[in-house]
């Protein structure tokens, strides 16, 4: 279920064909936003850049707009907007803010920078 985006969530289009079913995304990320605010757009843009750079081909982003779907805020205990939830790999991690601090995002997602 976690891999299946809900009807109302939008699948992120990262310009590339989505991952095949057999090779499921190792990184399942969910970005919670509330409407198309500049901050949400920034967060999405930042997230996509980071994913493209570090997780190319192994990630799946689901954007949940709480304006449309407020009940979903409860499940992941969302307070701050935007919040990025790393659903997979486990354990769940939460990153709040517009993701402008790449270093902290990497720490938060527990991604080793490529040069390491």
């Amino acid at each position: 279920m976690k891999n299946t985006p809900t009807k109302k969530s939008r699948r992120a289009s990262n310009g590339q064909p989505p991952q095949t079913d057999g090779n499921a995304a190792r990184w399942n990320l969910r970005l919670y936003v509330a409407g198309q605010t500049p901050r949400s757009l920034t967060a999405f843009k930042n997230l996509k850049e980071i994913c493209e750079e570090y997780l190319k081909g192994q990630y799946h982003i689901e954007v949940v707009d709480l304006m449309e779907n407020p009940t979903l805020a409860r499940g992941d205990q969302i307070l701050a907007i935007p919040t990025l939830v790393r659903k997979l790999p486990q354990p769940i991690r939460k990153i709040i803010g517009d993701l402008s601090n790449t270093e902290r995002v990497l720490v938060g997602l527990d991604i080793q920078p490529r040069n390491n």
Partner: protein, 590 residues
């Protein structure tokens, strides 16, 4: 503002619209409840009862005023909350099912969170908004909103967002209650009172002499008058109750109806009518003088009249009182079974004074008695000093009077003190003061009962001897005479002495009467004898007189005869008429 569709609610006394909480007592001290459509703050240290207060605000709102509510908890999960308040008789799950309540548990684990730039708390707003919209909530509780400060790293953002949140709540028109942990030297740890400034309630749980007392104070309430004192409150199986007892004054009514004390002769001492209904009676005395027994008589009489009576016993258990009173012929058990009499037994040291007052208040409100006995009030000194105890009793008496309950208080005077020392200095508060005194004479102790005062009743000023018999209390006239006041065996020997003296006097009277009778008989006998003598003498004299007359008649006849024989010239005709004269003449002539 929110649409008004409200019935059966107390009208606020002033301009500000208020939302009744339904919490007993609270709406009285705030004159209507929490400010409607605004946010209020309830603060207090851990365990002060904030969550419960907030929860009861919602539950009562949903059940009494039909106003759905949202409870957003930052500390306890929904299940925990439901379990915790189930003990107070609140069925949260049912309310949730009925769409009267939404519980939203907001949980943030700081270690899971990484801050990576700017954010806001729109998620919280959306959750709250959704919860409010889903049931059309009118009331919102945010239980320990300050948890945000420990959950999220950026205090500046939180503060800005909280400001926005309170504004938003106001716009929503919901009546919000926000709980806050008490900070060092300030009301809240993070200074939330700066944002929520309309109404601030402080809950407190103070420990004094190892006894804790819960108190509530309205620190501020913008735009309205409110009680400013600290009010004790209780949390028990029925939830929260605040006791607005201090708000009473001297404006109670004074009924003119009388009630019996249950002891006939005591009623007689009280102008033959007994006590005024709604008055307060102090029964003071040293140990073992029968104060509780007077109390038992009092409730017994009330129950016999079919009234409800409440007996607060701070020294004995219910069974013990029933047993002891049965030994003097008072059967209280039957009234307990009938539901007319209720005992409330507790050790004074169980709670603080305020809680005792609160318990008494609550028990009275629930049972609604017309007669109350508190036995004894002196035991409260174990948990408070004289001033506090007096203050507490003053409030209690005011409360009882306002409900026109006749109350009897017993007070133990310890041996060394002046017996007229009422220990707690409450005698001035009382309308009637009975003093039971042990009077020690001739090596024995006897109980004497005085009425020291009885406001508005022409009472007896005499001491009565007070006996505990198989049929309850008996008041006996103490012997008051030249020998002083005598009681007990001295009284009975005096009575015996008097009886003997009376007997002697009676005998003497009898003797005198006998003598009188004898004398009468004697004189009567003499009278008869004299009369006899007189009659004898009279008869003799009468006989002599008769004989003399006879003789004279004979002599006259003789003379006539002689004259006839001598052929006297006066004719026959004159014989009858003049003969005698003539003869008399003749006699005279002779």
């Amino acid at each position: 503002m929110i649409k008004q569709n409200r019935r059966n609610r107390p009208r606020p006394l002033d301009g500000l619209r208020k939302e009744p909480t339904g919490i007993p007592g609270f709406d009285e001290i705030t004159r209507g409840g929490l400010p409607s459509g605004r946010a209020s703050l309830v603060c207090g240290s851990a365990g002060a009862g904030k969550t419960l207060f907030a929860m009861e605000f919602l539950v009562r709102g949903a059940t009494i005023y039909n106003e759905p509510g949202v409870f957003m908890s930052f500390e306890e999960s929904s299940d925990e909350l439901a379990t915790n308040v189930a003990s107070l008789g609140f069925d949260l799950n049912q309310l949730i099912e009925d769409k009267k309540l939404v519980l939203d548990y907001v949980f943030i684990e700081r270690s899971e969170i990484e801050e990576t730039g700017e954010y806001d708390l729109e998620g919280l707003f959306l959750r709250l908004d959704h919860a409010i919209a889903s049931i059309g909530a009118k009331r919102v509780v945010l239980d320990t909103l300050e948890a945000l400060f420990s959950a999220l790293p950026n205090e500046a953002i939180i503060r800005a967002e909280l400001r926005r949140l309170f504004r938003w709540l106001k716009e929503k028109g919901v009546t919000a209650l926000i709980t806050c942990e008490r900070g060092d030297g300030r009301l809240t740890r993070y200074g939330l009172e700066e944002y929520v400034a309309d109404c601030v309630i402080l809950l407190d749980n103070r420990v004094q002499n190892q006894i804790s007392t819960r108190r509530m104070r309205i620190v501020k309430y913008r735009g309205t008058s409110h009680g400013t004192n600290e009010y004790p409150f209780l949390i028990d199986e029925k939830g929260f109750s605040v006791l607005p007892i201090t708000s009473l004054g001297l404006s109670h009514k004074a009924p003119t109806e009388h009630v019996s004390t249950g002891i006939e002769r005591m009623d007689n001492m009280l102008d033959g009518k007994g006590l005024y209904r709604g008055s307060s009676i102090l029964v003071s005395g040293t140990a073992g003088t029968g104060k509780s027994t007077i109390g038992a008589h009092f409730v017994d009489a009330a129950c016999a009249r079919g009234e409800r009576a409440l007996f607060f016993a701070f020294e004995e258990s219910q069974d013990q009182i029933i047993r002891n009173m049965r030994s003097i012929g008072i059967d209280l058990e039957k009234y307990v079974r009938k539901g007319l009499l209720k005992f409330h037994n507790a050790r004074p040291s169980t709670w603080g004074l305020e809680v005792h007052l609160a318990m008494i208040h609550k028990t009275i409100s629930e049972f609604n008695p017309s007669v109350v006995v508190i036995d004894p009030i002196t035991n409260f000194l174990a948990v408070g000093d004289r001033t506090e105890t007096k203050a507490m009793l003053t409030r209690l008496i005011d409360f009882l009077k306002s409900r026109e309950i006749t109350a009897m208080f017993t007070s133990l005077t310890s041996g060394g003190h002046d017996v007229e020392d009422s220990e707690v200095d409450v005698s001035s508060l009382m309308d009637t003061w009975l003093l039971v005194k042990n009077i020690e004479t001739n090596g024995e102790r006897n109980r004497g009962l005085y009425i020291l005062k009885a406001r508005g009743i022409a009472h007896s000023n005499q001491v009565r001897e007070f006996l505990l018999t198989d049929s309850g209390i008996q008041l006996v006239d103490a012997y008051i005479g030249t020998e002083g006041v005598l009681m007990g065996s001295a009284r009975s020997s005096q009575v015996a002495r008097e009886k003997a003296a009376d007997h002697d006097r009676a005998l003497a009277m009898e003797r005198k009467q006998r003598e009188l009778r004898r004398k009468q008989e004697l004189y009567e006998a003499q009278l008869i004898a004299l009369r006899g003598q007189y009659e004898t003498e009279r008869d003799a004299l009468l006989r002599e007189l008769e004989e003399e007359k006879q003789r004279q008649r004979e002599m006259a006849e003789q003379r006539l005869e002689i004259a006839r024989l001598r052929r006297a010239d006066n004719g026959e005709v004159q014989l009858e008429g003049n003969g005698a004269r003539k003869s008399r003449k003749g006699t005279v002539a002779r």
